[in-house]
C-alpha cells in the first residue's frame, strides 16, 4: 500500500465550515422524518468510516472486524441502561471505556501481524464477538436483539429523528475536526511514516507498536461511542450490528471513498448508504447492482473517489 500524500497545512478550516453550514441547512429541505433517518444513517456510517480510515488509510492496518466495536458499544449501553438501570450518559462512557480496554488488549496481541494475517485476525475477532452477542440470550436477547431505552441526560430526553439528527451531525463534524487535527499533528505524521515503511519509521525513532495500538484503540473507542448513541436512537440493538457484513460495508466505504482521505470517507459513506435506498426500485437486482458498483468503482478509480477527483482537479486529497 502506498503512503498517503502530505496534505497542505490544514489551517484553512473552510471546507469543514462549509460542510457544517450545509448540515445546518439540510433540515430545511428534508421533507419528512424518513429523510432525516437516512441522513442520520449516513452521518453514523461516515463517522465510523472516518474512524476506520485512520486505521486503514493512515496507519495502514487493515481491520475486517471493526463493526464488532460498533456493536459492542451499542450492546454495552443497551445492557447497562436496560438491564441495570444505569443513567445513559454514564453507560455511554463506561461502554466506550470498556471497548477501549478490550481494543487495547486485543491490539497489543494482534497488531504485530501484517497484511492478510492481520485481516484474518480482525475478521476472526469480529465473528467471535457477533457469535457471542447472538448466543448469550440471557444477557443480550439473542439473535433477535433487545430493546434500548431512550437517551436522557439529567431528565432531558433526546428522542425523534430531528433531535437525533443534530446530535449525529455534530458528532460527524467533531470527528472530521479531530481526525483532521490528528492527521496534521506530529502523531499523524508518525502514522503516515509508519504506513510508508515501518522499518524506516523505526529508524527515525517512531515507536511503531505503540502508535499502532493507540490508533487502534482510538478508532475502536470512536466506533463504540457512535454505537452506543445509535442504539439509543434506533431503540433496539441486534447482533447484526457487530457482524461481518457490517464490517465489510465499513471497509468498502473507506476504500471506495478513498483511503487516507477524510472527505473520502464521508463521500464513500454517503454513496454506499444511499445506494440501497436508490437501488430499491430495481426489484431483486439490488445485490447485482451494488456489487457492480463496487467492482466498477475500484477498477476505474482504484485510489477511491475522493483522491481520484482531487487528482483530476489538481488539488491534493485532504
Amino acid at each position: 500500500m502506498r503512503a498517503p500524500p502530505l496534505p497542505r497545512a490544514l489551517s484553512s478550516r473552510a471546507p469543514t465550515l462549509l460542510f457544517a453550514a450545509a448540515l445546518v441547512a439540510l433540515p430545511l429541505v428534508l421533507p419528512n422524518a424518513y429523510y432525516f433517518d437516512v441522513a442520520i444513517r449516513i452521518a453514523v456510517n461516515a463517522t465510523l468510516a472516518i474512524a476506520l480510515n485512520l486505521l486503514i488509510g493512515y496507519a495502514g492496518q487493515i481491520s475486517l472486524g471493526h463493526a464488532a466495536f460498533f456493536g459492542l458499544g451499542a450492546y454495552g449501553s443497551a445492557i447497562l441502561v436496560g438491564a441495570f438501570g444505569w443513567p445513559p450518559l454514564a453507560a455511554l462512557l463506561a461502554s466506550a471505556a470498556a471497548v477501549g480496554a478490550l481494543a487495547y488488549l486485543v491490539g497489543r496481541a494482534i497488531l504485530r501481524l501484517e497484511g492478510h494475517y492481520l485481516a484474518m485476525a480482525t475478521l476472526g475477532l469480529g465473528v467471535v464477538a457477533s457469535i457471542a452477542l447472538s448466543n448469550e440470550v440471557a444477557l443480550t436477547g439473542g439473535p433477535d436483539g433487545m430493546a434500548v431505552p431512550d437517551f436522557s441526560v439529567f431528565g432531558w430526553r433526546l428522542a425523534g429523528e430531528r433531535s437525533w439528527y443534530w446530535a449525529f451531525a455534530a458528532l460527524l463534524v467533531a470527528a472530521i475536526l479531530i481526525a483532521g487535527n490528528l492527521v496534521d499533528s506530529p502523531a499523524g505524521r508518525a502514522l503516515r511514516a509508519l504506513h510508508g515503511s515501518q522499518t524506516a519509521a523505526r529508524t527515525l525513532g517512531v515507536d511503531a507498536a505503540s502508535f499502532k495500538t493507540r490508533v487502534f484503540v482510538l478508532s475502536a473507542v470512536a466506533a463504540a461511542f457512535v454505537g452506543s448513541l445509535y442504539g439509543h436512537y434506533e431503540g433496539f440493538v441486534t447482533p447484526g450490528l457487530a457482524a461481518f457484513p457490517k464490517s465489510v460495508q465499513l471497509v468498502t466505504m473507506v476504500v471506495v471513498g478513498g483511503m487516507a482521505s477524510i472527505w473520502g470517507s464521508v463521500l464513500g459513506a454517503a454513496l454506499l448508504s444511499l445506494a440501497p435506498e436508490l437501488l430499491a426500485r430495481f426489484e431483486g437486482y439490488e445485490t447485482i447492482g451494488y456489487g457492480a458498483i463496487l467492482v466498477a468503482t475500484m477498477i476505474f478509480l482504484p485510489r477511491g473517489i475522493a483522491p481520484s477527483l482531487a487528482a483530476r482537479f489538481g488539488r491534493k486529497a485532504a
Binding site: 421533507p31 419528512n32 422524518a33 424518513y34 429523510y35 433517518d37 444513517r41 447472538s134 448466543n135 440470550v137 439473542g142 439473535p143 433477535d144 436483539g145 430493546a147 429523528e161 434506533e234 431503540g235 433496539f236 441486534t238 447484526g240 450490528l241 440501497p276 435506498e277 437501488l279 430499491a280 426500485r281 430495481f282 426489484e283 431483486g284 439490488e286 445485490t287
Partner: protein, 387 residues
C-alpha cells in the same frame, strides 16, 4: 434489500388488465389505498417472506381487478429487509413517513416485527404481523395484531401429541436463528407444564452442512424417547437427512417451520414418518367437507399454485389471512381511518382463515386457538392428518 414487485410478463399483463378494468370502473382517478409491507424476501427468512410477498401481490391484484376496496384501488408498497431486523426498522419509517401507507402488513420474523412496532405505535397505524413469536401478542399491544400460531402453541401441540403416545423424555435440537431460539425458550416452558423432560438441549446453525456431531451426542444420552427439532427452512432438512444417516429410529417431531413442500423436497426419504404441527392449509382435501376452512383453503392453494407454480406453505397463508382480516375491517369501518380500522380489526369474529377460525378481542390480538393447529405426519412423501 429493497423495493419488490413481481417479475415476468405475466404479472405485467395482469397489472395492465387490472389497470384497464379500473380505468373502466372509475370515472375519475381515485386515490389508492396503500398497504405497507416489510418482508424478508431475501436472507435466511426468505423461506417465509417469499410466499408472503407473492400471496399479497396475488390478492392485491385480484381485489383491484374486482373493483378495488371502497371503490379505490389498493397499492402494495413492499420492501425487503433481507432478514435483518435493523433494516426492517428503516423501511418501516420509510413506509410510514414517506410512502404514507394506511396500514402495515408484514414482519416475516418476530425480530423484524418487534423492531417495527414502536414506530407503528408512535404513528398510530394498524400493524398486522405475519410472524410467530409469542411476544408479539403477549402482552397485548394496542396497534399490533397477529395471524400466525405462536411458537408456544407449536411446542404445546407437539407435547400434547407426544404425551398421548407415552413419549415424555425428549431431546431438543434448536436452530440458532431468532425463530429457533425463541422456539427453544417456549419449548422449555411448555415442557415443564406438560411434564416432559428435556434430556438434551443442542443447537445447530441455519446454514450448517452437517449436524451428525450434535446427533451423535444426543444418541449417547440414555433414555431419550423422541427428538424435537425447532428450526425453519433448509436447516431441518439437513437434520432430517442426518438423522436417517445415523440410523436413529426414534420418533422425530419438527416445528411449524417445516410447513412447506420445500422441506419434503430437500429432505427426501428422510422426512418419512416425521410429525409437525401446522395449519390445515397443508391438507385441505383431508378435512371434513363440512369444515368451513376447507373451501377457503382449497381456493387459496389452487390460486397460489396456478399463479406462481411454487410450493404451498402456511406462511403464504398467513399473508392471505392478514390481508383479508384488514380488508374486512376496512369494509366494516367504511374508511381507512387508522383508529377506526384498528378497532374493527380487534372486533374480528368468526373469520375463516387459512390458519384457523379467528376471533379477536381487546385481550387477544391473535384469535386462534391451539386446536387450529393440526398434527401432520409425512407419509409417502405427502402430508397426512395424524390425529
Amino acid at each position: 434489500m429493497g423495493r419488490l414487485s413481481r417479475a415476468g410478463s405475466a404479472w405485467r399483463a395482469s397489472l395492465a388488465a387490472a389497470a384497464l378494468i379500473l380505468a373502466g370502473c372509475a370515472a375519475h382517478a381515485a386515490e389508492p389505498i396503500k398497504i405497507g409491507s416489510v418482508l424478508s424476501a431475501t436472507g435466511p427468512a426468505a423461506y417465509l417472506g417469499d410466499p408472503e410477498l407473492k400471496t399479497l401481490q396475488i390478492y392485491v391484484d385480484r381485489i383491484n381487478a374486482e373493483g378495488g376496496l371502497l371503490g379505490r384501488p389498493i397499492k402494495l408498497v413492499a420492501y425487503d429487509d433481507g432478514s435483518e431486523a435493523a433494516q426492517a426498522n428503516g423501511f418501516a419509517k420509510r413506509l410510514i413517513e414517506d410512502d404514507r401507507v394506511d396500514a402495515l402488513i408484514g414482519g416475516s420474523t418476530t425480530g423484524s416485527t418487534m423492531a417495527m412496532y414502536p414506530l407503528a405505535e408512535r404513528a398510530e397505524i394498524p400493524f398486522v404481523s405475519l410472524a410467530a413469536g409469542v411476544v408479539i401478542s403477549e402482552p397485548v399491544k394496542k396497534w399490533l395484531f397477529k395471524v400466525a400460531h405462536s411458537d408456544r402453541m407449536a411446542a404445546e401441540r407437539v407435547f400434547a401429541d407426544a404425551t398421548k403416545r407415552g413419549l415424555t423424555k425428549i431431546a431438543l435440537l434448536s436452530e440458532t436463528s431468532g425463530f429457533g431460539q425463541s422456539g427453544r425458550k417456549e419449548t422449555l416452558v411448555a415442557a415443564a407444564k406438560a411434564g416432559v423432560a428435556i434430556l438434551a438441549d443442542e443447537t445447530y446453525g441455519p446454514k450448517d452442512a452437517d449436524v451428525t456431531a450434535q446427533l451423535a451426542k444426543i444418541r449417547g444420552v440414555d433414555g431419550v424417547q423422541a427428538i424435537f427439532v425447532f428450526g425453519m427452512g433448509e436447516g431441518p432438512a439437513v437434520v432430517a437427512k442426518d438423522i436417517a444417516q445415523l440410523g436413529i429410529t426414534l420418533p422425530v417431531y419438527q416445528s411449524h417451520g417445516v410447513a412447506s413442500a420445500e422441506f419434503i423436497r430437500l429432505a427426501g426419504a428422510a422426512a418419512e414418518g416425521e410429525r409437525f404441527p401446522a395449519a390445515a392449509i397443508l391438507i385441505p382435501e383431508q378435512l371434513d367437507p363440512a369444515d368451513p376452512q376447507r373451501a377457503v383453503l382449497s381456493d387459496y392453494v389452487a390460486l397460489f399454485v396456478a399463479k406462481t407454480g411454487g410450493d404451498v406453505s402456511t406462511f403464504g397463508g398467513h399473508a392471505r389471512d392478514a390481508f383479508f382480516i384488514w380488508k374486512a375491517a376496512v369494509e366494516r369501518a367504511g374508511s381507512v381511518d387508522k383508529a377506526k380500522v384498528r378497532d374493527e380489526i380487534e372486533k374480528t369474529t368468526g373469520f375463516v382463515g387459512t390458519g384457523g377460525l379467528v376471533s379477536m378481542s381487546p385481550q387477544d390480538h391473535l384469535g386462534l386457538s391451539a386446536s387450529a393447529f393440526r398434527m401432520i405426519e409425512i407419509r409417502d412423501g405427502k402430508w397426512r392428518l395424524a390425529d
